[in-house]
Amino acid sequence: METIPSIRVKDLTRQYGALTAIRKVNFTVNPGEVVGFLGPNGAGKSTTMRILSGIMSATSGSAWVGGICVAQNPHEVKRKIGYMPENNPLPDDMRVVEYLRFRSRLKEVPGHKLRAAVEEAMEICDLARTARRKIIGTLSKGFRQRVGIADALLGDPEIIIMDEPTIGLDPHQIQGIRKLIDNLRGKHTVIISSHILPEIERSCDRVIIINRGRIVAAGTSKELREEFLPSNRFSLIVEGNDSAVAACLAGRGIDAEILECTPIAENWSELNLRVENEGNLGPQLIQLLSNQREFILHSLAPREPNLEEIFLAATKRSWEETIETKPKISA
């Protein structure tokens, strides 16, 4: 039996007057996946999320959440979604526990389960012992984010959508939120929007990159690496004449380019090397670059392109390409 995708979006378009915020967006998210929604500011991330959560209607196209059409039955869709909006708005005058109880009632959590639901959400977000009776207005940014996430978890929704959950947090708090998202993996379908790339890379199974209202790439980090930056990359530390490295490799029939050269000490430099040849080139390169007169190779390590580079490559390519030419995206 075919499983119903948690989210399916088909040709979704939203216009604000003359401005098209998103144009013919297509993607699918399967149950239990943690998906990162990535894009520069103003790319259309929040618009897509607002449409999915039923706050806003689309100009054209369709979206299904748990097999239910958002436009036809927004009420039912809202029961399946826990949504944490951008900037995480909270009422400053309420206490944490009061607010979460109030939200549980709004989310139609049955009376006899209400207390347990609030306790569970507070426990998951580590609020139960630290901030239970605190007034929300007095909480630090990290705790506010936790309250927002606890709110999204209430009512045990099938899908949790978080718009920029780690914005403005310090590294400790980011780590806490990351652990929290890890705990949700498998139990809920999670969509996180962010423009903080390492965050998405660490937390998400799959990434969807959106730029100027269009989806420009979708897949796992590995798939995206192969698609956008297929060549091998290495990081080298050499002592001596660094410009001789490329010449040495070219002489042995290896097509290499030095992308970046950073001096780290007198006569020492760190090189960022791109090699077009495929296959496991590490041992070959070590052999070729050892015992050279002009330079001494101190270290050589393969370098995985990070999501930042993929993102830059994908958004650059999106100027020319559209989703229609990339059938892989709607997989």
Binding site: S53, G54, I55, H75, Y83, P85, D92
Partner: protein, 241 residues
Amino acid sequence: MLFISPHTYIAAVLFLCLMGFIYWAILRGMVNTPSETLPTVQFFSVFWIPVFFVVPLLTMRSIAGERSIGTLDTLMTTPTSRVAVILSKFAGAYLFYMLLWVLTIGFPLVTEKLYPNAAESGALLEVEPLVGSFLFLATSGLLFISIGIFASSITRSQLVAGMLTFTTLFVVIIGGQQMGNLADAGGELSSWVVAAVNYLQIFEHLDDFSRGIIDTRPFFYYTSTTFLLLGLSTLVIEAKA
């Protein structure tokens, strides 16, 4: 949000202080110049003074405030219907408004307790004008609060919502009275114009109610406009969410 916000209680204290002062002034006035009208009737005839500031204070935050801090969005992601949101905002503000008026019964009670021989027995707490006046406040309150809710639903600024509410209340309460004066002065106006203007005379309604004349026309006026404004507010938050 209304009941946890300090603004609400500040509005309540201001209201009770002002009304207490007005009641004291009326009693003092009666000591100096005896009057035929009961203090209760005189007291409720200045209902418009607190309405002008309490209604905007109670309603301006209701939707505009939620919209400006973004909690309206989180509210809209729950399975609660738009109608329920508007009705609960309205009910909260309306019940609090009525509670404030109910508390003013404390003034004659305190006076009677402290000075049992000062007034003729029962004059301060005569039931009929009290019931009539409260019935008037309860029905007119529907309209006043719904004006506030509607003004709050169309903007994201609490200040604008407050000013809009104040101005609209002014037009509805004082404007109706002025139109009545004009109609009286005109003399030759056709009867349907006079009837229409009389229909909007809020002070006349109070007069009738406090004398025990319970007419269905004011009921219809207040409840129909309330439904209209609350319906419009629902449409506005549906479109502007």
